[in-house]
Symmetry: C2
Subunit: 391 residues, 2 copies
């Protein structure tokens, strides 16, 4: 076997998601009838005009050396703009470029953070349901994921997290707003998690870090600003990207920020810049760094998402689907009628509707709807979801 | 200590290169006199006009979904263009998009390849002098680097490679044209390495792979086409980028190709696409994929480099510096007079000339000159190199 045991295992594990995707392709080809695909978080929304203008400007500008290597952390101007935006939103004093590394998306940022922090065998606590890639990311760096449950409404459970802490715990990894549930964690819950981590960090050689994967931080529909891990806890690494808030996931532009309240953040920062290099990212794409520097206060059309969320959430609730309240991101995570998510997605598939089973996120019995799609897709899906519920 | 033991060790190891860099910064600030910095492979040459036109076109084009995720392997059109270019240069039939994954630079490509191939403890044979990042890359994926010597002229030594092969050998990693030596390996040497690997792969569960890091493949000055690992051996993974041939290293656009002659390449390809995802690269930057699709047969001004190479190589030879013949890339790797490279770079630094000691590439007694700089920098450096030699 030419490929490694780990990757071979991953391919096996990953194959049912691929099968799902290929099933969709097959359905599309077999018949001219539409397929209502709600599986992928790949927004069907063009970036805002301001992004396009900034991109054309950056592409056309004859800045000498615009495409050369820069420091591994990225352009100072971009890092400072990110620090100001994140720091202001979190009400955090002292945020500056010195705490920010520009990365190849939030996925790059999380891998950089874990490379910096994990010794072999260190544990990463992850709350279910979780973004499926986290397990790969932890294992890339010799870490071990320890799963804990959330509460019934999919809010974080500080007591469950506390019960999972061992001598080997190095990182608690959260995702706020959450994929797949769309839940925005209340500030009080984050504060409680902060208290737990503070208490258990006392007397340790190194603190337990809170790593917040926050690519949806600007996609919240009932509040002006998302709740904040940086407010809740001093030893926080904040990973984000512009994939969702500017709608440019293919461009791989994100960042990792270490809280200026973290003791010894300077050393963590040095590690972040070095990890960006030694993992082979080297630096975030130069041109996009330049583009996003001026777009830190911008966001795609939130109303486009809010309307879709409101419509599907109330339709599903009316139909009798139990759905945790989706305050952010662009996902809903309803309970699968009958309780068997794998059977349920097959029933939907027969009606040409594709969704991801909760099993894929460590939470069987639920299914994920990604509503970053055209209204026609939602129309068709709602019809099928209604028909299935009525049976 | 907040950061991992491995990264802490890396930072220590990496610190003398950083010191060198900071020394240069300090020298620049202390006095208005110029500093002649020949340390970094970051070309001082703007991309060709055709690149700029393609970039403006891609940035201005209103292609729907241009910034969305695509398949992890990249756009089919780009992958096909890469396959045609590499396949034609190597005289290889059957190259197609099906063997190509677009990556975040060649560094991303090497990490993807090693993630696909290595089980913990597997050995990666690397010939000295070597690009300093290789050790990090192998260790990222649980691999162990085994160093072997090259011949006196820094050509690969097939016998040395053969002697280093054990049951654990999974990859032989080469870099052609070579950084830091500028040497282009002769086709016959590559063929001999291929013979060695073929012989030692017989009867194994999986073959030994040749991983060729080839970002300088188009920067050769005495031949039309670079010599080819793909010609020499069937189980070859070819990693490259457009950092050097289009002069856009900051944009992080490269690729990894598995030879269509490799038995079971389909499985390796599936692993490559998955590794691109699970390492957090996800995909190569979308916009640059679009741009380079039409530039596969283009290259920056080779004469700009050739003239500099000819000038420094003959000047150094005349001065009495022993320098292996630099057929490609933009580096020279002369012997340090006196034999102590660390002492020699200090002597040069006193004359405001910065070069990298061979110790940094596993080859003490030599020093690296990166000649991708302005002529004035070369003027000043040659004066100092002459003065030092005369002493």
């Amino acid at each position: 076997m030419p490929i490694s045991k780990q990757l071979s295992e991953y391919l096996k594990r990953g194959s049912w998601i691929r099968n799902l995707f290929e099933e969709g392709q097959r359905l599309s080809k077999e018949s001219a009838e539409p397929v209502y695909d709600l599986t992928i978080g790949n927004p069907d929304l063009e970036p805002i005009q301001k992004f396009k203008t900034a991109l054309e400007h950056a592409a056309g500008g004859n800045v000498p050396g615009a495409h050369k290597y820069m420091a591994n952390a990225g352009y100072e101007e971009t890092r400072e703009a990110v620090a100001q935006s994140v720091g202001r939103d979190a009400g955090l004093d002292g945020c500056s470029k010195d705490q920010v590394v520009m990365t190849v998306g939030a996925a790059g940022a999380i891998n950089v953070a874990l490379k910096v922090l994990l010794n072999p065998g260190d544990e990463v606590i992850v709350s279910r349901p979780y973004f499926v890639e986290y397990q790969f990311y932890a294992e890339n760096h010799g870490g071990k994921v320890v799963f804990v449950d959330t509460k019934a409404d999919f809010d974080l459970d500080p007591q469950a997290i506390e019960a999972a802490i061992t001598d080997k715990t190095k990182v608690v990894l959260i995702n706020n707003p959450n994929n797949p549930s769309g839940v925005v964690y209340p500030q009080q819950t984050l504060d409680e998690v902060g208290d737990v981590l503070r208490r258990h960090s006392a007397g340790r050689e190194a603190p337990i870090f809170l790593l917040d994967d926050a690519p949806y931080r600007k996609l919240v529909y009932d509040m002006d600003l998302c709740t904040s891990s940086l407010k809740a806890y001093e030893n926080t690494l904040f990973a984000s990207s512009h994939s969702k808030d500017l709608g440019i996931p293919g461009e791989r532009i994100g960042f990792l920020l270490i809280s200026p309240r973290c003791q010894g953040w300077q050393r963590v920062f040095a590690g972040m810049a070095f990890a960006n290099r030694c993992l082979g990212f080297v630096n975030a794409p130069a041109l996009m760094q330049r583009v996003v520097a001026s777009l830190q206060d911008d966001v795609i059309d939130l109303d486009w998402y809010r309307k879709k969320r409101d419509r599907i959430y109330s339709a599903l609730t009316e139909l009798g689907y139990q759905t945790p309240y989706p305050g952010g991101a662009f996902y809903l995570f309803p309970k699968a009628p009958g309780g068997d998510d794998m059977a349920f997605i097959e029933t939907l598939k027969a009606k040409r509707v594709l969704v991801v089973p909760g099993t894929g996120f460590g939470q069987p019995g639920y299914f994920r709807i990604a509503y970053c799609v055209k209204d026609e897709t939602i129309d068709g899906a709602l019809q099928a979801l209604a028909a299935v519920m009525r049976k």
